[in-house]
């Protein structure tokens, strides 16, 4: 029995070495090779988006909350809260993705939700009850690129006021950054915050 085990283990080791090369080097590099095809390479390298001046401003699929220089004149659309953030809202630590893992009956989480609701209501100048659910809950990744159309709509008035852009124009930019359900039934309607903020900056510098 022991000699069988020893012999089989030896065979297993030889097979493992071959498969490490096939599955661990050839296979991923073949997929990487395919990812170099134009049209795929952009998203393969993280869907990077650039600002008008050419700087790499982020990824269209990653949301990191922008921090205004002057909180009283905040020109940005904001992402959802991130569990990895120092404060209750953001910005996320992009090198440690993840959620809060707090339960619905957690007193900590209840407290955070209340703080977030109050802070956002004050920022937007609305009643606390008007703040939507996605605005007061941390996402699973902490890097959620999207907010609900309701949360985007809530921020339009402030962004228009601070940037000086007409409300209708800001609403138009929000509409451009909004995607519906894929194929009409997959997922949820969402507004991409990174793209939206860049569009607002672009409109300002035009």
């Amino acid at each position: 029995m022991l000699s069988t085990l020893r012999r089989q283990t030896g065979t297993g080791l030889r097979l493992l070495i071959v498969f490490t090369i096939v599955c661990g080097i050839v296979y991923p590099l073949a997929v990487w090779g395919v990812s170099r095809i134009p049209g795929l390479s952009g998203s393969a390298e993280g869907s990077v988006v650039t600002a008008a001046d050419g700087t790499v401003a982020g990824s269209s699929v990653i949301g990191v909350d922008p921090v205004p220089a002057n909180p009283a004149a905040d020109p940005y659309f904001h992402t959802r809260p991130a569990a990895s953030a120092q404060g209750v809202l953001g910005p996320a630590d992009t090198t440690t993705s993840g959620g809060s893992n707090k339960a619905a009956d957690s007193q900590d989480l209840l407290h955070e939700v209340e703080q977030r609701r109050a802070a956002i209501a004050q920022r937007e100048g609305v009643a606390p009850a008007a703040v939507p659910t996605d605005a007061v809950t941390a996402s699973g990744s902490g890097l959620d690129p999207d907010i609900s159309p309701a949360y985007a709509a809530l921020q339009v008035a402030r962004v228009a006021r601070v940037t000086g852009l007409p409300v209708a124009q800001v609403q138009g930019l929000v509409a451009q950054a909004t995607s519906g359900r894929a194929l009409g039934f997959l997922g949820e309607p969402a507004v991409d915050v990174t793209t939206l903020n860049l569009a607002v900056q672009g409109a300002l510098h035009r």
Partner: protein
């Protein structure tokens, strides 16, 4: 379109996709494991590693192959992690600490993919690709091989040979897992999943703040992570991370991938035993369990009862906007019903009812529809128990697929199903009794208890998902959870191979007037009842202290 209607359309689309693949892929896999001829590349490989591919093996030799292969796999993966600084493309990331490296090696070799580290900070490309991706493929191939050996036990008669473990591993890898994974990886690329050999990209946001976005060779690992029911994320947030799962289309595709092989294997079984209805009975049991738990989880998330969720206006903590509740619970139930354990939303933040449904899904023994191979042999063992129970009721020697179920067979089946509950209850009980555990928990009360129960359920079932608020980096958790993964994987495998051996040795008996028909709906009810009964009798007290208490609060 209402959220619920859209969600139901999504479920329907998933079932149609699986239905389309059921017969072709199931029959293809049956041909793979019954074909006489080797592919030329396989013959070359057998010569290279000195395997006599024409020789069949008795069950102890087959089992020794599985154990030996898994042992060297663990050892190599441990070494790669410890030697990380000298490996190429490590991006300056240091050696993985010994306890974490042990836990991770065991985790990926046992198809668990429990993760106690932050991947985007801990591992470079070489460990990800040559270490983890490899085990994503091979641990699934091992599961396939064991399932096929058990089917052969039913099919063959009067022989002590179950087939050749090296041929089964090679064919599963070369003819099934790698080709499907490559196609899936390319489709994931088209859907926008990342695939980069760079450590990350430096960005300067609109506010002028600098952030580094870590990148990874994602698509190749993502494909086999789901297809092989592995579940280990290349990022800490797993499939909640936009680089792993950028949109609702990639999300549905990932759910499809994790269910694909376990579902189609029931057809492989039916085809190999020359009665496809035997497979239909099993897949209908799996489907009903999956659908029932999905309904519970979905309802619970739409009607949360926790004060924080009520204050927020809904159960969106730990979920991504692009998925919402329906796509999150569909993923959650599919990942815990298979042995995948990938997550696109944080199960720890699920409501009591939905978190309880994911937990129960694992505690059923992961047969709805279970992991690659493990799901099929799991439900076959439960079918053996069901036939035995029916035999007790009518006082006849039970038989299944023409094989008598005597003391040896029933003992092997009983050992196989009792291992997991034993580990879960002893492990969770021990952990709860220890004074240090309370400090490792992220939540208190009933939910805190659920975090511990979930950790042992997930590891003993080789699932790998977590109520991730629990801190498991201490030596107690690293080692006991590692042992839970090892016992939960290999004791059932040994029992199943012993069962296969004694079944193959028997001559086939022709069905008589008193034989229980096992290709009829009433047998599906019997098997489903057995699955629920075993889990309910074993786990009801534990579930009552955790998720049930939380759901009723």
């Amino acid at each position: 379109m209402s959220d619920t209607l859209a969600g139901l359309f999504q479920v329907a689309a998933l079932l149609v996709l699986l239905g389309v693949c059921y017969v072709p892929l199931g029959d293809y896999m049956a041909r793979v494991f019954t074909a006489e001829r080797h592919w030329r590349i396989e013959s070359m490989l057998y010569r290279l590693v000195r395997v006599d591919a024409s020789s069949g093996q008795r069950w102890p030799t087959y089992a020794a192959g599985v154990l030996g292969f898994s042992f060297v796999s663990c050892a190599l993966l441990y070494l790669l992690q410890r030697l990380q600084p000298v490996l190429p493309a490590s991006f300056g990331r240091g050696p993985v600490p010994p306890a974490t490296a042990f836990n991770t090696a065991v985790s990926f070799v046992t198809n668990t993919n429990w993760q106690s580290y932050v991947p985007e900070q801990t591992l470079g490309d070489t460990v990800q690709m040559a270490g983890l991706t490899v085990q994503n493929v091979l641990s699934a191939a091992v599961g396939l091989a064991v399932a096929v050996a058990l089917i052969r036990g039913f099919v063959r008669s009067g022989t002590d040979r179950l087939g050749n473990v090296w041929v089964d591993l090679t064919r599963g890898t070369v003819r099934i897992l790698l080709p499907l994974a490559f196609v899936a990886a390319v489709l994931l690329l088209v859907m926008g999943v990342t695939m980069s050999l760079h450590a990350g990209v430096d960005t300067t946001g609109v506010d002028g703040a600098a952030h580094t976005l870590p990148l990874a060779p994602t698509a190749s690992q993502e494909a086999i992570k789901q297809l092989g029911t592995n579940g280990g994320g290349i990022f800490n947030a797993n499939s909640a991370h936009p680089f792993e799962n950028p949109n609702a289309v990639s999300n549905l595709f990932q759910i499809f991938l994790m269910l694909l092989i376990p579902v189609c294997l029931t057809r492989t079984f039916g085809t190999m035993v020359r009665n496809p209805r035997q497979g239909t009975v099993l897949v209908s049991v799996m489907g009903v369990l999956w659908a029932g738990l999905l309904a519970v989880a979905w309802y619970a998330e739409m009607h949360p009862n926790g004060p924080a969720a009520l204050a927020a206006g809904g159960a969106l903590e730990g979920k991504e906007v692009r998925f919402g509740i329906p796509s999150s619970v569909l993923f959650g139930i599919s990942t815990t019903g298979t042995s995948t354990g990938a997550v696109n939303s944080m199960h720890d933040s699920f409501t009591g009812g939905a978190g309880g449904a994911t937990l129960l899904n694992m505690l059923l023994g992961e047969v709805a529809p279970g992991g690659v191979g493990t799901g099929l042999y799991g439900i076959l063992v439960l079918a053996v128990i069901a036939v035995f129970l029916a035999g007790l009721m009518v006082g006849r020697t039970p038989e299944y697929l023409g094989k008598k179920l005597g003391r040896r067979e029933v003992t092997a089946a009983a050992v196989s199903i009792l291992v997991m509950p034993t580990i879960v209850l002893i492990g969770a009980g021990l952990a709860i009794a220890l004074p240090g555990t309370a400090g490792a928990l992220n939540n208190g009360g009933a939910h805190g208890f659920s975090e511990v129960l979930y950790a042992y359920a997930s590891t003993a079932n080789n699932n790998g998902s977590a109520f991730a608020g629990i801190t498991v980096t201490g030596n107690f958790f690293q080692s006991t959870l590692g042992v839970a993964m090892l016992l939960g994987r290999f004791v059932p495998i040994l029992a199943v191979l012993a069962l296969a051996g004694s079944l193959a040795a028997q001559r086939r008996v022709e069905p008589g007037a008193g034989t229980l028909p096992t290709d009829k709906p009433q047998f599906a009810v019997l098997v489903g009842g057995t699955v629920v009964l075993v889990a309910a009798l074993t786990f009801f007290p534990a579930l009552a202290l955790g998720p049930i208490a939380e759901a009723l609060a």
